[in-house]
Symmetry: C2
Amino acid sequence: MSTERDVVVCEVGLRDGLQNLDRVLDLGIKKQWIKAEAAAGVSEIEVGSFVNFQRLPQMADTAALVAFAKTVNGLKVTVLVPNAHGAKLAIQAGADRLSVPVSASESHSQDNVNRSHQQMIAEVVAIRDMINALPEARRPLLEVGISTAFGCTIEGAIAQSKVVSLARQLVAAGADEIGLADTVGIANPIMVRNRVRSVKDAIGWHRLTTVHLHNTRGLGLANAAAALEEGVKTLDASLAGLGGCPFVPGATGNIVTEDLVFMLESMGLRTGIEIDRLMQVREFLAKHMPDIPLSGFLAVAGLPMAWTQSSPDIVAQNSTMPTG
Amino acid sequence: MSTERDVVVCEVGLRDGLQNLDRVLDLGIKKQWIKAEAAAGVSEIEVGSFVNFQRLPQMADTAALVAFAKTVNGLKVTVLVPNAHGAKLAIQAGADRLSVPVSASESHSQDNVNRSHQQMIAEVVAIRDMINALPEARRPLLEVGISTAFGCTIEGAIAQSKVVSLARQLVAAGADEIGLADTVGIANPIMVRNRVRSVKDAIGWHRLTTVHLHNTRGLGLANAAAALEEGVKTLDASLAGLGGCPFVPGATGNIVTEDLVFMLESMGLRTGIEIDRLMQVREFLAKHMPDIPLSGFLAVAGLPMAWTQSSPDIVAQNSTMPTG
């Protein structure tokens, strides 16, 4: 397939999906998953996180996964790092992009990483310094993902001004890029539009690249479409929607990679991903985790009759969406 | 609750939902359903259809339901009528709004109502004449819903120009309003934007009022948000998403009323519908049809913490959506 992409779909199932499971998926299976998704055309995968492996044993093989993923031609390898120590390990492993979660909710930040905003900003400064000390060719991209950017299960509503102010501080602290994450599935399309636009206005349009959405209340794809219309270029998603919240039985997790790719390609936006091959990776997952419920509509309904990827006649019909 | 509404949510579960079930729901249950949803603030309900009752026995009590629904204060009562004969019965029963399905796909039209486009246009002319012969105060609104307006399971793609041309002809034939229906769940947000806008441009902005969406591939709410942004004021939906296609096991049907209301109210768009009471009607349905699988995300995940309906501080944040 063409490698020209209008939208980058970043697979986060290996991190956000697997960290929520009550088991450790075999390293060999994870490698096959990465390889197969890359072969389907996925150009960016968050392969794991450098966290406390005693707390999250599912992530203990992250260094090995980064090393493996770096051998896959053209793949951009992202890892989540909660602090400077994790960033050091990620840099040693050779990750292309570090994603540091900083929660807009101070309570969530304490719960999740046991640190206040000021402490997290200090971590970002330390990571920036660590990166700048590297030879230029070896420097990974430093993204800070603002979690609970649309609301929090502990604090409830999170003011937009708080998110904007935090984004500004994080860029000042050294973040190359800012992402906004709807960690608990609270966002709606208006909120996404408004927050994306306000943050872009505050920190520069090129610096807000990624939106991370959950489909907890079924609004995930509506929110994704809103983000695209505000110029977001990278959307996180998880194959089969892996990553349901363990505290809400039956609640779905991240937006479903295959449903998102279907929506984007139907809209004429090129993802570079072959949907048939992506569905095969889903089947691979189903085979190796037969007891894990998989989400997603496309897998049930199938592709529409005579459907083609990025159909150019659809794009030609007075599109109002960004296509380049 | 306030009866001021930014968006009208029209409940179609009693028609599009029940017609797909393999049983006939008791008339008394249907009446309670109508009464409870109206009490929750739903202002428009499609209560049934005047079709061949031997083919669709689920709809045989439509006249009784119209009569009952007309006793519910302030409720706009819609029925589906496939032809002039059905329209005559609907007028006798006292319906406020007739919805005539005309398929953009000629093959689907033959399959569904055994009539060509020209025959269906002739039916619309006959219905218009029938309505015009009534005293002005008794005239129902004549809506024509263009089904398969975004694609068809028999013909595949349906050209936008065909939909626009059909809409023009139907207005010329006497339709007060045109609706666009994604009968088989193929639409995407760009397609919705483009087709809604093109049809509005062709027939006048006030004449395209309703969009009818299915959630077959999970894009229903994304398509709804796109329709709203193009000025659509009425969205059909079905409580618990009743109405899955009998030919696609597990495929969901109409967009879910309660998820749609949640999205709209979260966006600050007033629906006039109390979500807590709507969820009670869902529970009523679950109780009376315990073996029917119910769709919907909100029912699983629940409302977010501290969530309020049509939160004004969200509306105030530079909304780009129509709110009046």
